[in-house]
Subunit: 351 residues, 2 copies
């Protein structure tokens, strides 16, 4: 089979015959078979190097693997800086990266709504392939379901991922200790505001673009440089505030962050202000917090700043106590307040 790496190519399912996804594209018959063979297999497993049948049979060179899953239901499907396909690849890659694993294999499950334009599906498929190439992972197995019109919302995607554990650290909240510093790899709240400004029809001079990006390489670089990483977490649903609260609870530690040190782009801060969001709680898709011992602080910051995914790396806080789960923030005016978890949600369906 010819490798489909020309991303300008036209949809391999003829749009004139099938301008929209039909229920039959998920029915197990000829139409589904053709869509899978022409559109999915040829893009994702062009050389049939994977022994793909009901499952993919894969080489596994480590004694420990990382395994994770996420479903993606973002609306709109395509937004400044990304789309649901890119999110579905990078999101799962990043979850693997947060345990220090090298992401290698992804699965891809589509739930399509009857009536989805075939061209939209094709655009998302190409985006998934580009993202997978960028993150050095392979889509090795998949599934497609179609639900009746009005019982879905265009496209939902599930990706699960397998990563190889090539290090021997225990990267986990239980490794977090008093004295650890907390580093971020850049400014926060862009992904959530990229999606929300589109949904709310807000216009800025230039659109706020999602920060969606693969984080495995920067994490592996930190590990290769010998940084003793205690814990990592990407700042997705619930943003920095929720992430720190989850870690504080799991590790039973007290975390103090400094508002002045947390980078928020001006247009993002303005959008948050207008729409009534606190950037601390807004989702990111290419940002993570690293808990590392103080001794490694300077080196880790230097490594991160040299990496394309860490140019805006900064120190935002510290673990100041053990025993009690608490997150506090020193505000711009010098006061200290508790940063709690939100009880509900700020932003529905941003990932």
């Amino acid at each position: 089979m010819k490798k489909r790496n020309d991303f300008t190519m036209s949809c391999p399912v003829p749009i004139k015959d099938y301008p929209y996804v039909l229920l039959a594209h998920g029915g197990g018959g000829k139409l589904m078979h053709e869509m899978i063979e022409r559109m999915f297999k040829e893009v994702f497993v062009p050389n049939d190097t994977v022994n793909s049948h009901d499952s993919a049979v894969l080489n596994c060179s480590t004694e420990r693997i990382a395994f994770t899953t996420d479903s993606y239901v973002v609306q709109p499907l395509i937004f400044p800086g990304g789309d649901i396909g890119k999110l579905a690849v990078f999101g799962t890659v990043n979850d693997l990266a947060m345990s220090g694993a090298r992401p290698v294999y992804l699965s891809l499950g589509f739930i399509l709504e009857e009536g989805l334009p075939m061209e939209t599906l094709w655009q998302i498929v190409r985006s998934i392939k580009q993202a997978a190439d960028e993150a050095s992972v392979r889509i090795v197995t998949g599934d497609t379901k179609v639900v009746d019109r009005g019982k879905g919302d265009g496209v939902f995607i599930n990706t699960a991922g397998v990563g190889l554990m090539e290090h021997h650290l225990n990267i986990h909240p239980s490794s977090v200790k008093k004295g650890d510093v907390i580093l971020l790899n850049g400014d926060i709240a862009r992904h959530g505001m990229a999606v929300m400004t589109v949904r709310e029809g807000l216009e800025f001079e230039s659109a706020i673009e999602s920060d969606t990006a693969p984080l495995a390489n920067i994490v592996l670089t930190l590990l290769n440089e010998g940084i003793e990483i205690h814990c990592l977490r990407d700042l997705t649903r619930g943003g920095l505030a929720s992430t720190l609260n989850e870690i504080a609870m799991a590790a039973k530690v007290e975390i103090r962050i400094d508002e002045l040190s947390i980078p928020v782009r001006e247009d993002v801060a303005a959008a948050c202000e207008i729409l009534g969001f606190d950037p601390l709680y807004v989702a990111n898709e290419g940002r993570f917090a690293a808990f590392i011992p103080k001794k490694d602080k300077e080196k880790a910051l230097a490594v991160m700043k040299k990496h394309s995914m860490g140019k805006g790396a900064c120190l935002v806080g510290e673990v100041i106590g053990e025993g009690e789960a608490l997150v506090t923030m020193k505000s711009k005016i010098g006061t200290t307040r508790v940063i709690d978890m939100l009880s509900g949600e700020q932003l529905p369906r941003i990932c």
Copy 2:
């Protein structure tokens, strides 16, 4: 944490406070956190033996693993003999089994519709746990999303699975040869008709129950007994006819089956007749076809018949030629006809 293996226990999310799933249960805040901690983690990873953070970190004792995924969108969510949760576990377990792998780890992704009764979710969660126990797999990682009312359909579930490859056969269509016999483990078309009779409001003396069942153990038993399995496939979407066509195409072989030898229960045949379905194309969730060399036929049948998942095992056909992809059937009256793939679908949303 107390292990939640008492399946009569009441819903750990208080129904009186939260009778229905809210958008906030997917928002990354307190409500989501509570639902995950109380309802999912306590049921699925009660002893926290899994290093579960953003990904699960798992032991992997083999050099080859099997990896697969499926999404489940069946309607109704609960049907005679099963429910979407049971399907989601057994379906993915069976896909792993079809490569001869021992299923060990599952991921679990929920896409919930706002307004889903919490009690329904709880019933499905318990069913998933029971099915996982029955199939000897562990749910080690998961994700929950909630979509607005009218943008989903109660519950969609994605499971991905990892299995260990403990044999050295190449169980794959490419191993299928002229002379191979085709064995089934029992009567066909029950799952599809169980779902359809409920949807269509057909009543029989006793309900047709789905055949949904885990198939890994019977496959591993065949392997342990030294049966040289060439290819395995579970007869899901598209049924026996589509499965055989897929294998014929992948292996470029001619397959001949014998209608008289294919078991269909009387009530199932009657339901097919009334609703206008051909049982050959109706989905099963606990049935598989095994392609094995003729020399192993008697032994394999004996092993299958002794196993609880193979009491109705039978020989249904043979690979009679190589080079051309074709499936034919000798009918009850002695004529031979081509069994083609369906172009559309018979049964929407039966898995």
